[in-house]
Amino acid sequence: MKRSLVRIAAVAAKEFRHLSRDRLSGAMILGIPLVMTLLFGYAINTDVRDLPAAVADQAGTTASRALAAGVEASGVVRIVDRVPDAAALERRLADGGIVVGLYIPADFEHRLADGRPVGQLLVDGSDPVVQNAARALTQAPLPALLDRVRPGAAGAEPAGGALAVRAYYNPERRSPVFIVPGLCGVILTLTMVLFTAVAIVRERERGNLELLITTPVGSLELMVGKILPYVVVGYLQASLILAIGVVLFDLPVRGSLVDFYGGAGVFVLSILTLGLLISTLAATQFQAFQMTFMSFLPQLLLSGFMFPFDGMPRGAQLLAELFPLTHFLRIVRGVVLRDADLMLMADDVWPLLAFFVVVMALATARFRKRLD
């Protein structure tokens, strides 16, 4: 037992040395989280803002002008043009000058009083993200705006519309707040698997394996020793991403750090074993890279990071339940955004533990101390 621990420590220390001497790996450990967090945080923004819009206000009343101003005040659109009628709006849409048109008919005041739709939004629907944003506009708190102009007028508007977009955990609906915690899982999935996927293949390619397997080191000892240093690396990366989120994107960390690191630890362990398994399957480092990306893509797409989990077909959901990333996303969003208790998220913790045990066993069984 003690000897076994000594061997695991020896393998881990050796692996750590490799890591510390390999500039590329070092650059990847810090570079990938840094670049990806900044990219996703700043550039990839699912908040739609400043869509060019035009207004055709045929009513021309104080209230109708207030409606147009209210729509613009939402920040989603920026009114760049005023046109006389709906046909002109359509022409502007067609030539691409605007993506949203607000049509306010002449009987606006009557409609307002009757509780009928007060106007029409013409939307360039080719980009679904834009379309969704515009649709959300129709439910935006317009009544409140109108209320300010003419108290009581909004009474006819169905109250549910205003509630539909009310966001509890990201009221300003700023996407970095939602994306950064998830990004933590995505980045760890990519880098952890990338590192361990080459861990054994590299020894094989460089000829070290032939020596290593003639030593008394056991398969499981080798596997554990190989992943230990990367647990440290994983923690480093998770901390870095969280720090970037807090410092640059005002990410509120509502839950406890203990829960965050606890969840991250279990997740990192599970994802590391996936890398190990790949390493025992691949014949070359290049193959290991290919397999890493092949395993990464479905996780990225189905875990709920890119698209809402609830919107996916049942089959895809079932598949996604197998991925560690899916569970970690729930854990990390829960802990960071909702102050959820890790203990209460057992439904997402035990699948990670199960994944760790099963895949570790598979990798260890796959790894033979043989050359053929």
Binding site: R3, V6, R7, A9, A10, V11, A13, K14, R17, H18, R21, D22, R206, G207, N208, L209, E210, L211, L212, I213, T214, T215, P216, V217, K369, R370, L371, D372
Partner: protein, 315 residues
């Protein structure tokens, strides 16, 4: 109970697709000796060693190493066997010291033991002055010294060395071999593969492999004495022409040119081989001195590894 031989292989074979890398190999390596594997490229030396280390499954046959069957009991042999691979297999980005320290811990040496053992190995293999250099920065010969230091670190009973000196200079090679003899004196058994005749000659016993088959084995002296050929050295003015001429004689099995001399192997039943060659050359107008000499290990090797003994001679 008598001690089991260091290695006992019975009909050991290994196939890679169409290639029969090792073909029905049966041999016994006694303890406390240096046993040499001599054979051309691709003759199956490395494959045999790998099977004996339990790294490759035999396609047929069986083997016992230090009395234990391999590959079944290979794990139990790890601490008792050392293996120096043909290709350098230590970590190039770690220093000499780090490489050795890593293996020492893997082999379960105690903390205090490690320091002392590392110092001894580095002294023995003249690595102390470069202990902090990374293995990747060493020359070919220095790498091989490091690999041997690593393979003997845990004082194995049986040492497999796969072409350990292919890049080592003659002086270091001599010291290397002195060291092997020391190990044998201490009770170890060494199985070493080589392409060098002078090294093969130093072995206590020798196996010659060709295309996966064992074509000769025994003590080097016996092999040289029993070589099935008469060896004649020819000194003459036109060695090229003389060589072509002599190869027309069916009794001549092989001729190699060594500078201005020819080294000819003849069928052993021929009477007076040296007079026969001298006569032939004289008839062709070539003045030559011939003498019968003792067979070298090279002759043994040539006779064992060329199918008709004529060694690529022109028809």
């Amino acid at each position: 109970m008598s001690e089991a031989p260091a290695i006992q292989a019975d009909g050991l074979s290994r196939r890679f697709g169409d290639v029969l890398a090792v073909d029905d190999l049966t041999l016994t390596v006694p303890r406390r000796c240096i046993y040499g594997f001599l054979g051309p490229n691709g003759s199956g030396k490395s494959t045999t060693i790998r099977m004996l280390c339990g790294l490759l499954m035999p396609s047929a046959g069986s083997a016992r190493v230090l009395g234990l069957p391999v590959p079944d009991e290979a794990e139990g042999l790890r601490r008792r066997v050392g293996y120096m691979t043909q290709r350098f297999s230590l970590y190039e980005d770690l220093s000499i010291r780090e490489n050795l320290a890593f293996l020492a811990r893997i082999f379960g040496l105690g903390r205090r033991e490690i320091d002392q053992r590392l110092r001894r190995q580095m002294d023995r293999f003249e690595l102390s002055s470069m202990a902090r250099r990374t293995a990747g920065s060493l020359s070919g010969g220095q790498k091989q010294r490091l690999a041997l230091a690593a393979a003997t670190l845990h004082e194995p009973e049986l040492l497999f060395l796969d072409e350990p000196t292919s890049a080592v200079d003659p002086e270091s090679r001599r010291r290397f071999w002195e060291h092997l003899f020391e190990l044998v004196d201490e009770g170890a058994t060494v199985l070493v593969s080589t392409h060098f005749m002078d090294e093969a000659e130093r072995c206590h016993r020798l196996a010659i492999l060709d295309q996966g088959r064992l074509v000769a084995d025994g003590r080097p002296d016996d092999l040289m004495r029993d070589v099935p050929a008469a060896v004649v050295e020819v000194e003459c003015a036109e060695p090229q022409r003389a060589r072509r001429l002599l190869l027309e004689d069916r009794a001549v099995l092989h001729i190699a040119q060594l500078g201005m001399r020819l080294h000819a192997l003849l069928q052993p039943e021929v009477d007076g081989p040296e007079q026969r060659l001298a006569g032939r050359l004289r008839d062709a107008g070539i003045d030559a001195g011939t003498r019968l000499i003792r067979a070298s290990l090279e002759d043994v090797f040539v006779m064992a590894t060329t199918p008709d003994g004529r060694g690529g001679a022109a028809p």
